[in-house]
Amino acid sequence: MLKFLSKIISVCFVVVCFISCSDRYKTVQEQFVEVNRSDLKDDTLIKDSGSAFYFSRLSKPNSFGRLYVYKYPEDQIGKEHYVVFSGKTRTNYAESNSTISLAVHDKKGEQLCWKSIFLRRHFTDINKWVYFKDSIRIDPKYIGKKSATVSCMLYLARSTNENFDFDTLHVTVKEKE
C-alpha cells in the first residue's frame, strides 16, 4: 500500500508542476464608450426612428468615429495585452469596410502599430443591428520599453456609400499574467 501511495504522490507532484504553469488573464482596464453629443469625432449622432435611442453614424467623406484612449501602464510594459471590444453595430453595405482600429503611440507621438478588426464578418444581414465581440492582441514588441498610449477608434475605410452605425462600445483590456 505504501509503495503504491508513493507512486501516486509522485504522479500528483508532476500534475502540480504542469498545472501550475497554465496561463491566466486579468482585466486591467474597462470602459463603456457611450454615444453622446460631447464626444463626437467625424461621426453624426442620430436618433433611431423605431425606438428612443441614439446611435453614431459614420459615412464618407468622414472616417473616424468614437474614440477611447488609454495609457499603457508602465508597470505592465513587456506584458502581452488583449483589447476586447463588444457592442452593437449595423451597416447598409454587404462588403462593409467598417473597422474598429487600434493605434499605439509612444511618448513623442510616433505611431508604433496600427491594427484593425474588420467588422464585415460580423454583419450577418445588412441594415440589421448585430451584436459582436472581437479582440486585438498587442504584442509587447509594439510597446517597446517606454510608456505608450493606445487609441481605439471606429474607422471607416474606402466605402463611399456605406453607412456605418454604432451603438455603445465596451472596451476591456486584458493582460496575460
Binding site: S6, V14, V15, F18, C21, A94, E95, R120, R121, D125
Partner: protein, 530 residues
C-alpha cells in the same frame, strides 16, 4: 577529498536503491495496469498543458487548413452522400461527382460512422486521430518497457521523444500522418514482442498495424523494408544471442506477413491511382517530389530554417546528438536489433527525404514519418546507457533522468507556445474562413440544396470555403484567372456564385449580376446565376 565524494556517492546509491525497492509493485497484473495508467495520465497531462483539449473542437484551421478541409470533406461526403468505402469523394469537383483516389480512408470512414450515430461535428475526426496516435505512443511506451523494465524511466524517455510541436499539432487533427505513425508504432511493439514470444499472433498483428500505417500514409511502408533489412542482417549473422544462434527463428512467418502487408498497400495505392484517373480528381499528392536543381535546394532550405525548431525543440536536438555520439562510441554494448532498426530507419529516412525533399518546404507534417528514427535512437541510447549503468552506479541513471526531466520541461514549454501560436494566429496562417462557418442554414433557407453546385470566389485554398459552406462545386483562387472563372461559371450543374469580393470578380466577369443577388452574409454575396 576523493574518498569523501566516493562516500557521498555510495550513500546516495544506497538511498536510491531503497527508494527503488520501495516503489516496486510485485503483482504482475497490477504492475501492467499501473504502468499503462501512469503513462496515459502523463500523456493526458502533456495534452492538457500544451492545449490540445482547449482547441479540440476547432474546425479545420491554421497551417494547412486547406489539406485538412480536403480530408474532412471526405468524411462529410461519406456521411451525407454515400457510405461506399471504396468511393471517397471531396467537395471540389474535378470530374463528375468528386470521387477521387486517396490514402486508405479508414479514419474518415470511422468519423462518418460517428457522424451517423452522434451527428456531424469536426471534433470526432480530431478525437479519432488523437486516440490512434495516443494508442501508438502507449504501445511504443510498452516497447520501451520491454527493454528498460522501469515504468517511470520508460515514461520519461518516451516523453522526451514525443514532445515535438509538429506531432502535437497534427495529433488531434485531420491529416493522416499522425494516425499513420500511431499504427506503425503499434506494429513495432508487436514485432519486438514476436521476437521474444515467437507467437504467430504477434507477427500477424505487426503485419496488420504496419499495413494500416502504410495504407494511411504510403511512406510508413518503410517499416516493412526495415524488417526485411533486419532479416538480412540476421542472415549474415549480425545478431547473435548468448548461445550464438540467430535472433529471428521464424523467418518464413516474418517474410509471409511482410509480403502480405506490402501487397495490400500496393494494391490500395494502385486502386487509388486508377480511381483518380477515372474520376479526373487528383486532389491528393501520392507521388514523390524531388528537387531538380540547386535553386530548388536553396528554396527548401530557406523554409526548413523556419520549420526546424517546430519539428523538435533545440533541447531535443542536443539529446539526439548526444544519443548518436554515445551510440557510435558504445555500439558494441547496445542492443544490436535496436541499433540495426535505428540505422535502417535512418537510411530509409534519408531515401524518403531525397524523394520528397521539395515537399518539406511547405509541409511541416512530412516530418512525422521520420519520427520513428528519433524514437528508436532514444530507445537504443537509453537501453545502452542502462546496460552500462550497473557497472558504474545508479547515479548515472539519476543524472540521466534529471537531464531528461529538464529537457522535457523546456520541450513542453516550446510545444505549448507553438500550439497556442498556431491556433491563436489561425486566420493569418490558414486564411480567414469564418464568414463561411454559419452560412449553410441560410443557404438551405433560400432553397439551395446540398447537391447544388456553386462557384466560390475567391478562395486560395483547394476547397476550404466549399467545406465550410457544405456545398460541392469549384473554387477560384485570388489571382485573376479569367479562364478558370469562365470554365467554372459554364460548368454543367453550377447554379450559384458565392463571392467575398464582388468588385474584384466584376473586373474579370463583366456580366452584370447586381439583380441576381439572393443572399448577403458576413461580407459574402450569393448570386443565382442559372
Amino acid at each position: 577529498m576523493l574518498k569523501t565524494v566516493q562516500k557521498i556517492f555510495h550513500t546516495l546509491n544506497r538511498q536510491l536503491g531503497s527508494i527503488g525497492s520501495l516503489l516496486e509493485i510485485k503483482h504482475p497484473t497490477f504492475k501492467k495496469i499501473f504502468r499503462v495508467t501512469f503513462f496515459i495520465v502523463t500523456l493526458h497531462l502533456f495534452y492538457s498543458y500544451i492545449g490540445v483539449y482547449r482547441f479540440i473542437q476547432e474546425r479545420p484551421c491554421s497551417i494547412h487548413s486547406s489539406a485538412q478541409c480536403q480530408r474532412a470533406s471526405v468524411a462529410l461526403n461519406y456521411y451525407q452522400i454515400d457510405m461506399n468505402f471504396f468511393e471517397p469523394r471531396i467537395l471540389r469537383y474535378g470530374g463528375d461527382d468528386g470521387v477521387t483516389g486517396m490514402e486508405f480512408p479508414l479514419v474518415y470512414y470511422t468519423a462518418a460512422l460517428l457522424y451517423k450515430i452522434f451527428g456531424f461535428h469536426d471534433f470526432y475526426l480530431r478525437i479519432i486521430s488523437l486516440i490512434i496516435i495516443s494508442a501508438g505512443l502507449v504501445f511504443f511506451y510498452l516497447l520501451t518497457n520491454l527493454f528498460i523494465r522501469n515504468a517511470i524511466m520508460s515514461t520519461i524517455i518516451v516523453s522526451a521523444a514525443i514532445l515535438s510541436p509538429v506531432l502535437m499539432y497534427y495529433g488531434a487533427n485531420f491529416m493522416p500522418d499522425a494516425p499513420s505513425l500511431g499504427f506503425t508504432l503499434i506494429g513495432w511493439y508487436y514485432f519486438f514482442k514476436f521476437l521474444r514470444s515467437s507467437q504467430k499472433r504477434d507477427m500477424n498483428l505487426f503485419a496488420v498495424f504496419a499495413a494500416l500505417g502504410a495504407l494511411i500514409k504510403a511512406v510508413s511502408a518503410m517499416s516493412f523494408f526495415i524488417v526485411i533489412g533486419l532479416l538480412v542482417f540476421d542472415l549474415i549473422k549480425k545478431f547473435k544471442n548468448e548461445s550464438g544462434e540467430n535472433v529471428f527463428k521464424e523467418r518464413k512467418v516474418i517474410i509471409v506477413r511482410v509480403f502480405v502487408g506490402m501487397f495490400s498497400v500496393f494494391a490500395w495505392y494502385f486502386y487509388a491511382r486508377w480511381l483518380s484517373g477515372k474520376g479526373g480528381g487528383q486532389a491528393f499528392a501520392m507521388a514523390p517530389r524531388m528537387i531538380e536543381n540547386s535553386d530548388d535546394f536553396n528554396y527548401v532550405i530557406t523554409y526548413l530554417k523556419n520549420w526546424i525548431y517546430q519539428y523538435y525543440s533545440y533541447e531535443t536536438y542536443v539529446l539526439l546528438g548526444a544519443a548518436i555520439i554515445f551510440t557510435i562510441i558504445a555500439f558494441r554494448k547496445v542492443n544490436k536489433v535496436l541499433l540495426a532498426t535505428t540505422v535502417l530507419y535512418g537510411m530509409a529516412g534519408i531515401c524518403y527525404v531525397y524523394l520528397f525533399f521539395f515537399q518539406f518546404a511547405h509541409h511541416d507534417y512530412y516530418f512525422i514519418a521520420l519520427m520513428p528514427f528519433a524514437f528508436f535512437l532514444i530507445l537504443t541510447f537509453t537501453d545502452g546507457l542502462m546496460r552500462l549503468a550497473p557497472a558504474y552506479s545508479r547515479i548515472i541513471k539519476v543524472a540521466f533522468v534529471i537531464i531528461l526531466i529538464f529537457n522535457i520541461k523546456e520541450c513542453a514549454l516550446n510545444c505549448e507556445e507553438n500550439y497556442f501560436f498556431r491556433f491563436d494566429s489561425r486566420e493569418y496562417l490558414g486564411g480567414d474562413y469564418r464568414p463561411y462557418y454559419d452560412i449553410e442554414p441560410k443557404l438551405r433557407a433560400i432553397g439551395i440544396t446540398r447537391k447544388d453546385k456553386v462557384v466560390s470566389a475567391f478562395d486560395n485554398s483547394y476547397s476550404s470555403s466549399l467545406y465550410f459552406m457544405n456545398q460541392p462545386g469549384f473554387t477560384v483562387e485570388e489571382v485573376y484567372q479569367r479562364d478558370t472563372i469562365m470554365t467554372a461559371m459554364r460548368a454543367p450543374g453550377v447554379k450559384y456564385l458565392v463571392t467575398n469580393d464582388s468588385a474584384k470578380f466584376n473586373r474579370i466577369y463583366l456580366k452584370d449580376l447586381a439583380n441576381k443577388i439572393v443572399l448577403t452574409h458576413r461580407g459574402l454575396i450569393v448570386y443565382k446565376i442559372r
